[in-house]
């Protein structure tokens, strides 16, 4: 079972240029998907999460269009065929 991880262009280079990745969902949570993404692309993984495993403050992750910060965070269920989208938040200057 896999989910489709969608990356912003600025992160695609860290995944070999691919903006769309098929990632095994493991036990079926966002944490599992991101752990597998870390294993395949460690630099990409560090851009999304810090060393405690927390999603970085100005990174937003959506599962099937819903911001996981307003849901179950890393425990958000990810089903077979789900879309996990990573986007930079509106921040900076």
């Amino acid at each position: 079972m896999t989910a489709e991880v969608v990356l912003p262009g600025v992160l695609a280079d860290l995944a070999g240029g691919d903006k769309h990745l098929a990632v095994d969902v493991g036990a079926g949570t966002l944490r599992d998907v991101l752990d597998r993404l870390d294993e395949r692309h460690p630099l990409l993984g560090r851009r999304i999460r810090d060393e405690t495993g927390a999603v970085r403050r100005f990174v937003n992750v959506y599962v099937d269009g819903d911001d996981v910060r307003f849901g179950q965070g890393l425990a958000t269920p990810v089903a077979d065929g789900a879309v996990v989208q990573v986007l930079p938040s509106v921040a900076g200057g």
């Binding site: 630099l43 560090r46 851009r47 810090d50 060393e51 405690t52 970085r56 100005f58 930079p88």
Partner: protein, 360 residues
């Protein structure tokens, strides 16, 4: 001989080169565009100069980048050069300082970071290990963050002993005499007007510390209010602010060549934090802080921009070169100990750090 000046800004790194003993400069950049470069070092101890940059991607977190070809290409440790051990429950927020150790300790590089932490590398900055002695200090939970965050921003390893000094905003000065194993605060005599009551043992907001080249026990400290010196490695400090137009500021730089010589860049405080009268001036002492001389030649008369704690440095040249960078993106260089300055760069993003190196 090439003189290299690394300029870290809020939006990238520039490298300035001079081939004529610092009379003129060529600017190369941006490197690491759009990344905040708050710490940089040019390590000339190896077969080729290594540039280390402590960067913050903004959205994507902090890390250390390294280049062995003066910025043409950059490498990054896959797992992160600086990575808090799992048991700490902490995450790296910012790299504030990168400091190569002496030539007698090849490969050793120190890093000061946010949250308050000191790190030591033995592989020229590819990987760093947390200095547990400071991290586990009982005072650490009470070190407060300054306006820029809570960080070890100054690391001064003594080349002739096991002494390491760190300075923190806030927290103050701490010294280890056993290469980082144990630490004691050394702030006696340093005022802290933002704290009530008697002078505290620690908690001062030390902005920068520099070591006199003639005596490893003589240090200079620019504080959040107050400029101080010590002749006993921080056991007792005394004010050396008399003669300065203001005792607030961020950097203090000592000469690597001439004992007793140091530079500061005063700012009006508390709330203004701009050069007095809007005139950017560097002040130099040649007598360990007993007196100060205002240096104006080549510096702007209309400048309302501050110089950050690491945006000033000296080089190894003869005479000593002095460099300052401002938050409005200007960089000024002096090849004569500050007697006169030329403009190296203008209209860069906010300058956060400058570091000079002489390349063979």
């Amino acid at each position: 001989m090439t003189d290299l000046l690394a300029i870290g800004t809020r939006k990238g790194l520039w490298l300035a080169r001079s081939e004529d003993d610092r009379r003129s400069w060529t600017l190369d950049g941006p490197h690491l565009l759009a990344q905040e470069v708050a710490a940089v070092s040019v390590d000339t101890r190896g077969p080729v100069p290594r540039v280390l940059a402590g960067i913050q991607y903004g959205h994507w977190g902090p890390t250390v980048m390294r280049s062995d070809d003066l910025g043409r290409s950059w490498q990054e440790t896959e797992a992160g050069a600086i990575r808090f051990p799992e048991d700490t429950g902490a995450a790296l927020a910012r790299v504030w300082q990168l400091r190569p150790d002496s030539t007698d300790r090849p490969g050793v590089v120190w890093a000061g970071c946010e949250p308050h932490s000191l790190w030591r590398s033995e592989d020229s900055g590819c990987t760093f290990e947390l200095v547990r002695g400071l991290w586990e200090h009982p005072h650490r939970p009470t070190w407060e963050p300054g306006g820029g965050g809570g960080a070890v921003h100054t690391v001064l390893p003594d080349p002739a002993s096991e002494r390491v000094l760190v300075a923190m905003s806030t927290g103050g000065v701490y010294v280890s005499e056993d290469a980082g194993g144990s630490w004691t605060p050394r702030n006696k005599g340093i005022t802290a007007s933002f704290l009530p009551g008697e002078l505290p043992e620690y908690g001062q907001c030390v902005h920068k510390v520099a070591v006199d080249t003639g005596d490893p026990d003589r240090l200079y400290a620019q504080n959040h209010f107050g400029v101080f010196a010590t002749d006993d490695a921080g056991i007792s400090w005394r004010s050396i602010a008399d003669g300065l137009p203001a005792d607030f500021g961020f950097p203090v730089v000592s000469s690597p060549r001439t004992p007793g010589t140091a530079w500061v860049v005063p700012l009006v405080a508390d709330m203004e934090r701009v050069p007095p009268g809007g005139r950017l001036r560097v002040h130099r002492t040649r007598d360990g802080g007993a007196s100060w001389t205002e240096l104006a030649d080549g510096l702007p008369d209309a400048s309302w921009s501050a110089v950050m704690r690491d945006a000033a440095c000296a080089d190894e040249g003869d005479p000593t070169g002095v460099y300052v960078g401002t938050r409005d993106g200007c960089v000024y260089a002096s090849a004569d100990e500050g007697d006169s300055f030329t403009t190296v760069a203008a209209h860069l993003p906010d300058v956060l750090v400058v570091r000079a190196a002489r390349l063979p």
